[in-house]
Symmetry: C2
Subunit: 335 residues, 2 copies
DNA sequence: GTGAAAGCGCTAACAA
DNA sequence: TTGTTAGCGCTTTCAC
């Protein structure tokens, strides 16, 4: 990489002259600016980002810590973050916590040493179970702002972007009750997570309000094979006439299982699930879907962080929690 | 963030003493080392990474440029890269090219200014179609090594990690012929990509070798709805008794479509597709799958890059192309 | 055993 | 209009 020094030498001027010329400083003569720029162009000069970062005490880089990049929802959020960051001239450094508290702490520590200006993260499963928040607080105390999304630690003071999980399943369940469904099952492989719990509560509330019916819940563990579990469950409870899935897979699987058991979807049984467009294509009929607008969540998180980073005036302002509303996209798996 | 300067001041020693003490230099007295380390611990001192990078002319960061993070295969490779990099003390900066040549060039430019030590990338679709390679060559000339994976530019001299695409579909097709299938259809939504073409050629070769049968290909465009296309195709060609899918979705969809058309899988029709474990769960029976070992691809790419980065001895060595063999995982959708 | 000073590449206050 | 200098945080050579 060519440096200011080399340009200066070749042009027989000082380093600062070159620097100023490239930054269109008023101080420098037109002719000099031209000469400098031409040579810089020729050598394809680009200012060294590391040196700039050191000087300006600012890296224009956002640290993103994600529990699981194979999760379609999370990678979609990452997509949204990247796009928004890129738009504002920020890069992102991605770490994957693998749902582990230890890795999450490590990543936070590692990137907090000047590599990034702030963080966007989704709390890992282990962190939520153990309810640890010290590492977040410490990072914030060090002056690095955090924006949490989806799974958040309520006791940490920072910006947050969440989904209306409770409401989403409450409304979806109501919807099924309005279809005159009587035995609505709830399936989830995320009952350890805050969002999983909220979704289950929304379902429960709607069911209990109905007076006549009662909840029926299938919790799928990470080590289970989802398809086998759902087959067994549906064989056992033959009276199920509707399913709500809290995760992105079991909805589609439930449709396929129902079909293979000879049921007609949606005549005999309705299914609603959290999912994305691409996955909802994996069943016939297509899954009626609770869309979480993952990209918007990512974009919102990035905006909130960047706004805070660019608030150089110094005046701190209150932390916000933005709720991105889900929407119910009706496809063929409901009446 | 606390700096060496601050520690030095508080301890009434020089900055260099503190630096040496923290690095366990022989030059420094035991007692001093102890005092320094205690204070550093107390203040949770961590060396500033940006300063280190500037000094050492090395960032310990890998730039990753991926065409599409919502593609399950690609995000799995990313996972593999991240894990391997993390293991060796490297961070990754991720850019998403969105299959655009322009964005790919931009990302390369942006990160080449001292932000990263080298690149791992998968060539974007537009780049492959236009067959542009200048930006890669220039980056390499600047001294930043590149490792390409999956979709590679053959005319660029660099390390590569690829899949045995041709062989995979050749063998899979053979497999179906051995099952005595007569009309084997090939479905793809990636016929623009180098890997898509290779996969189609492998299929063609096997079919043509069989003498008796002829190829039948369905190309699905990005703007098409895959499910609708496949339904129409299978209704039109009722004699299809086997399907090979070159992308990760159409295999699963084909099973669901076949079932909905009253066919028994695998009795009446066999299906094989490129896919991952999680998606192969989205049909009943489960899809017989060509596994690409995405994580290994990522890990291999990271290893190759890191090896080159750490080859400080200077002697350049030949570029390698590593082929990660696919494997055929038999599930219920074949005999 | 400890400290001073140079230098990585850049910007900016100040001097000329 | 141009150049000198200091400094961002760190390592390392050389001097004391």
């Amino acid at each position: 990489m060519v440096t200011l020094k080399q340009l200066a030498k070749e042009l027989n001027v000082s380093i600062s002259t070159v620097s100023k010329a490239l930054n269109n400083s008023e101080e420098i003569g037109k002719e000099t600016i031209k000469r400098v720029k031409e040579l810089a162009e020729l050598y394809n000069y680009k200012p060294n980002k590391v040196a700039l970062s050191l000087k300006q005490n600012r890296t224009n880089t956002i640290g993103v810590i994600i529990p699981d990049i194979l999760n379609h929802f999370l990678s979609k959020v990452l997509f949204g973050i990247e796009r928004e960051a890129s738009l504002h001239g920020y890069n992102i450094m991605t770490c994957i916590s693998n749902e582990s508290l230890e890795k999450e702490k490590e990543s936070l520590q590692l990137l907090a040493n000047g590599s990034v200006d702030g963080f966007i993260l989704c709390v890992s499963e282990e962190t939520q179970i153990k309810n640890e928040i010290e590492h977040f607080k410490q990072t914030i105390k060090q002056g690095l702002p955090i924006v949490m999304f989806d799974r958040v630690a309520h006791d940490v003071l920072c910006d947050k972007v969440i989904v209306d999980d409770f409401d989403a399943t409450y409304r979806a369940t109501k919807n099924l009750l309005d279809e005159n469904r009587k035995q609505i099952a709830f399936m989830s492989n995320i009952d350890d997570l805050s969002v999983g719990k909220l979704r289950e509560r929304g379902y429960n509330k709607a069911i209990l309000e109905s007076q006549d019916y009662k909840p029926l819940v299938l919790n799928i563990k990470k080590e289970d094979n989802a398809q086998d579990k759902i087959i067994a469950f549906m064989k056992k409870h033959k009276n199920i006439d509707a399913v709500i899935s809290a995760d992105s897979a079991s909805g589609v699987i439930a449709i396929n299982v129902a079909t293979s058991l000879g049921l007609k979807v949606p005549k005999d049984i309705s299914v609603i699930g959290f999912s994305s467009q691409s996955v909802s294509n994996h069943s016939i009929p297509r899954l009626t879907t609770i869309r979480q607008h993952a990209k918007e969540i990512g974009a919102n998180a990035a905006q909130m962080l960047i706004k805070r980073l660019q608030n150089i005036t110094g005046e701190p302002y209150d932390f916000k929690t933005k709720i991105v509303k889900t929407s119910l996209v009706k496809n063929g798996s409901t009446l």
